[in-house]
Every structure is written in C-alpha cells, then in structure tokens.
Amino acid sequence: MHEVSIAEEIKEIVINQLKKNNAKKVNKINLQIGKLTSIVPEALQFAFEAISKNTELENAKIEIEMIEIKAQCQKCKKEFIISEFDYECPYCKNMNLKIIQGRETIIKSLEIE
C-alpha cells in the first residue's frame, strides 16, 4: 500500500510538469530509487497503472533505475557499495558506517508529447 502513496505523489508531480511544458501526454517516467528504500518496483508500476486510469498519465511506462547503497567507513573514510546484509567496511572491517547513498526517490525525467 506504501506504493500507492508514492504513485500518487508521482502523479501529482507529473501532472504539474505536463502543464508546465504544455504537453498532453506522458509516455515514460524515469525514476531513480535507492535500494535502501522499501519501494518494490513491480508494486509501484501496478499502483501507478491503477491510479492513472482515465487520466493523461494512462499507459505511461515507469522505468526505474535502482541506486546502489553506498557507505563511507567512519574509520578509514573509504567509500564503497554495500551488498545485502553485509554492513562492514571491506577495507578495514570496521562496522561504523555512514550511509551516503541508497534512499533516493527521484523523478529524473519524463518523455512527453
């Protein structure tokens, strides 16, 4: 259900963009979603289809670029990508990490006409 709220926000931003650009239709919505968010791409697509029926957003395709989780070790200051459940610095094995990427929820661009 979380994806429905996200889809509603996307719908609002896209409608504003259509107005701003004097466009009638959106074909594709390009998103960047961080892997640390709990957004499920398939659920988001499904939610978006449901709420965009009979609007100028109908049939728009959602393209999601998943953003890796990136952290900085607070000891050796190196930055690295975190794979699943392994929150440990690969260089010095320190576990005190600062997450610096992976919580993004961004509308990157739209294909409109």
Binding site: M1, H2, V4, S5, I6, E9, I10, E12, I13, Q17, N21, A23, N27, L31, L36, T37, S38, I39, F85, D86, Y87, E88, M95, N96, L97, I99, R103, T105, I106, I107, K108, S109, L110, E111, I112, E113
Partner: protein, 225 residues
C-alpha cells in the same frame, strides 16, 4: 516526443509537511514509535504514560488502519489522544507527515504547550521507515518473539532509528532465541544503535527507558528559543 529533465524528490511534499510539523513542535519532544503489529507499542505507551503523567504535559497520536481500540486504552490514562485511522487515507500502512500535521492541529499543538508528543505509528516494520514525520527521535520496538533476523530483513527501519527497545524480554526462558544473535544482527545493520532490553508488561528496565526519554525532553527544552 521530448524528454524533459525533472530531478524532483517524490517525497518532497512529505518533507515539506515534516518541516512544518517540526516547526509546530519546536518546544515539544516528539518521538515516533515503530514496530510490527503486536510487538507491544500500546502496552509500552500505557506504562510510559502512567509513569510520566502529572510531571509532563503529554499528547499521543495513534495510527491504525482501522478501529479506535488503542485510543480507548490510552484515554483511560491521559486526555489528549488523537486517533488517525488510515482507512480514511486510502488504508495506508504507515503514517505520513500530512496525516500527522492534521492530528497536531486537532490536538491544538500551538496553544497547549505539550512537553512530549508521542506518535504510535501503524504496526509495520517496512513502510513507516520511509516517511519522516518531523519527529525528534525514532524508536523501533522489536519483541523477541519475532525472531532473531528481523534487523537483517528490514534494515532501513533499524538504520533510521535512534534506539531499539527489545521488548518481551521476560519471555526469553520460553523461546529458542539467542540474545547475542539479535545483537549481532542489529550491529550489522547499524553498529552504534543503542539497544535496551525491556518488558513493558513486567516493567523490567522501564525506569531506564523513562530516564532516556526524560533526557531527550531536557535536551529539547535546553534548545528552546
């Protein structure tokens, strides 16, 4: 057909409301309690309110998909409880900053000079982690009956939280569960997350929790402009 760059945060509107809430709560400590359903949030609140009422002016925002059951329980202890039923907002599985904003206004937060505002989020270890509400502290409550691997399965919830209250610790003798395994799993997700084992039901370590809460209130008050 043209491609236009947007680069807009989808959560922007939520963040705007969260900032508004933080402004409304400039002189109030606000905590957001999150857990799965049945972990013991409402029992924790009952016990917490009983210990703090009289000393502080407290209000509670209750989030549930349906029913006012929790509000009824808490209203026996304090007056200012507001129930958000998310079924009125599309049956949402989490509270967002706009719902909290409406609740804060219903609780007359601008006039009532609350010391503490407690938000009991919808029972769910996933979605609430994605939504800032304008709170000062996020508290995650995990009951030991839920299993040892929950921090690994739902890392964001533990990542964003300021403290983990490990509840139902009195049930330890009856379960095949290892405290060190839970602790290590928490560490792998957030190495510096403070863990406090409690039993809201028996009262074990509840004084320790109250101490932390009162320290937060003091910190917020000292920052009062």
């Amino acid at each position: 057909m043209v491609e236009v760059n947007v680069f807009e945060n989808i959560m922007k509107r939520n963040e705007e409301y969260a900032n508004q809430n933080a402004q409304l709560l400039k002189k109030t400590l606000c905590i957001n309690i999150m857990s799965s359903p049945g972990a013991g949030k409402t029992t924790l609140l009952e016990k917490t309110l009983k210990k703090l009422k009289g000393k502080y002016n407290i209000a509670v925002i209750e989030g549930d998909v349906a029913t006012s059951n929790d509000t009824k329980r808490l209203k026996k202890i304090i007056k200012n409880v507001y129930q958000i039923k998310t079924e009125n907002f599309g049956g949402s599985c989490h509270l967002d900053a706009r719902m909290v904003n409406l609740a804060l206004k219903k609780l007359n937060v601008d006039k009532k000079k609350y010391d503490i505002m407690i938000i009991e989020n919808v029972g769910n270890l996933i979605c609430p982690a994605d939504f800032n509400l304008g709170e000062d502290k996020k508290v995650v409550l995990l009951s030991i009956t839920e299993g040892e691997d929950k921090p690994l399965k739902y890392p964001l919830m533990f990542q964003v939280s300021d403290i983990l209250l490990l509840n139902k610790i009195d049930l330890m003798p009856y379960l095949e569960i290892n405290y060190d395994t839970i602790k290590n799993n928490v560490k792998r997700v957030k190495s510096n997350l403070k863990i406090l084992s409690i039993s809201a039901r028996t009262g074990l370590n509840m004084d320790e929790w109250i101490k932390i809460l009162e320290k937060w209130v003091k910190e917020k008050i000292n920052g009062r402009s």
